[in-house]
Symmetry: C2
């Protein structure tokens, strides 16, 4: 069975059934997590685990020969040709603060290379997905093909990073130098920023310390929209770590020249 | 005629008809604004102006005796008892980068004090509104009453600011010191962060250099939800400038003690 847009839609709906009822639940709670030594109601952890369970069940049913790597429930069959990579809620901090820029990420790798992926945002009702070398965003039932911007120069680029505080030491200095060069920089969108890059509204995303499940699903969405995503040395991004995504080869080269050590 | 939730809904719909078709229009355009000396397609400016025109027309029809202060089309009748304050698109940078955390702000002042207001986010379909001392968020046709969190200590608080780069000199040092004290800080949400404070998912918002139209609409949404919003010296916030919004008096005091000069 090939991977299709409709399979991603099925995964997105199954995940949304677990995440959406818990999004903005527990407002007014003083402190999530442990309270007086007792684990308190923690909607994001519950949502994370339940959504990954639902996603894994569908993958196992449709693709029993494939491996799975998930943020919450670990790895199985990583030696298989095809491995699914899942982050049920990317952008936990957006989730707990009520901001609808988190997403459910599911990607598929073949011999280690990301070949299909989705980012679903159930509060807005958006689904970004890439299959067969095409990248789309679905909203209100309509598919629009994603195409990156044509921006080639840092001085004309809009850049995102989750927060500059994640860059340490020399990497922070190099990142700060790029902030001085770009037209506009913004913080705080995790997976949503990469999808806006694929859609042509953001030109550059630079991040550090990513896990494979933070990026694998997004790679086909970016690449099939015409963008480039690698680590800071220009190698394939599927392993995570330090990541640059850019709308054009020229912009990617300019950013990589400034970020690599 | 009194101001009602339904009047805010009418304003929100009229604004959405102008903003939403222009949101994420022009993707792939290299550089918004002037191109080769010729003004290029600039969706955010068009949306801003057209939405404010639509809002002013409805206000003038329903409240002909009231004054109006708008970001785009100036001031009329500021000496009246009642003055409406409009920012058709608060969060221009979110708008141009495709991130759905901008909002249409409309507030009503009586003798200079904000008594009713709305924030509408048409892409998500959310309407935050306050009338008659009650604060609500409407989503999918359902009204939920807003209630702030009970967080009283900086060490348990989640804080937002649009970007720390807006704080200059000593204010930046004082702001950075608060970042060291809070549980979590996040950047980049403009009006949306104040609404999440009213809804109980964010505890503290600190900003600088606001205009009246950036804050007036939000004041009743925060206050009617039980929150506190003032300038850094504890005075009424309607004039804009340096703003602190907090979920509780204790948290407000703690933040104000660190921010005021």
């Amino acid at each position: 069975m090939p991977v299709t847009r409709d399979f991603f839609l099925e995964l997105a709906n199954a995940a949304a059934a677990e995440t959406l009822p818990r999004f903005r639940a527990g407002g007014g709670i003083d402190d999530k997590g442990i309270k007086g030594g007792v684990a308190a109601f923690d909607p994001v952890t519950e949502a994370d685990r339940a959504a990954e369970t639902a996603i894994r069940a569908l993958i196992t049913r449709h693709f029993p020969d494939h491996g799975i790597l998930g943020e919450e429930h670990g790895a199985t069959g990583l030696d298989r040709d095809h491995v699914w990579v899942i982050d049920p809620i990317d952008g936990t901090r957006a989730f707990i603060t009520g901001i609808p820029v988190w997403g459910t990420l599911v990607g598929l790798t073949e011999h280690g290379k990301a070949i299909a992926g989705m980012m679903a945002q159930p509060f807005t009702g958006e689904l970004f997905h890439a299959v067969d070398g095409k990248s789309f965003r679905t909203f209100n039932g309509v598919d629009v093909e994603n195409t990156v911007s044509g921006v080639t120069e840092l001085s004309k680029a809009t850049m995102f990073t989750t927060t500059p505080h994640l860059f340490k030491g020399a990497a922070r200095e190099r990142y700060d130098a790029i902030e001085q060069k770009v037209k506009l920089f913004r913080y705080g969108c995790d997976c949503y920023a990469y999808c806006m890059l694929a859609a042509g509204f953001v030109d550059l995303v630079i991040e550090t310390a990513l896990q494979p499940y933070d990026i694998v699903a997004l790679v086909p969405i970016i690449e099939a929209a015409g963008g480039i995503v690698t680590d800071w040395d220009g190698s394939r991004p599927e392993k995570g770590g330090d990541i640059i995504a850019a709308s054009t080869p020229q912009l990617h080269q300019a950013a990589m020249a400034m970020m690599r050590s």
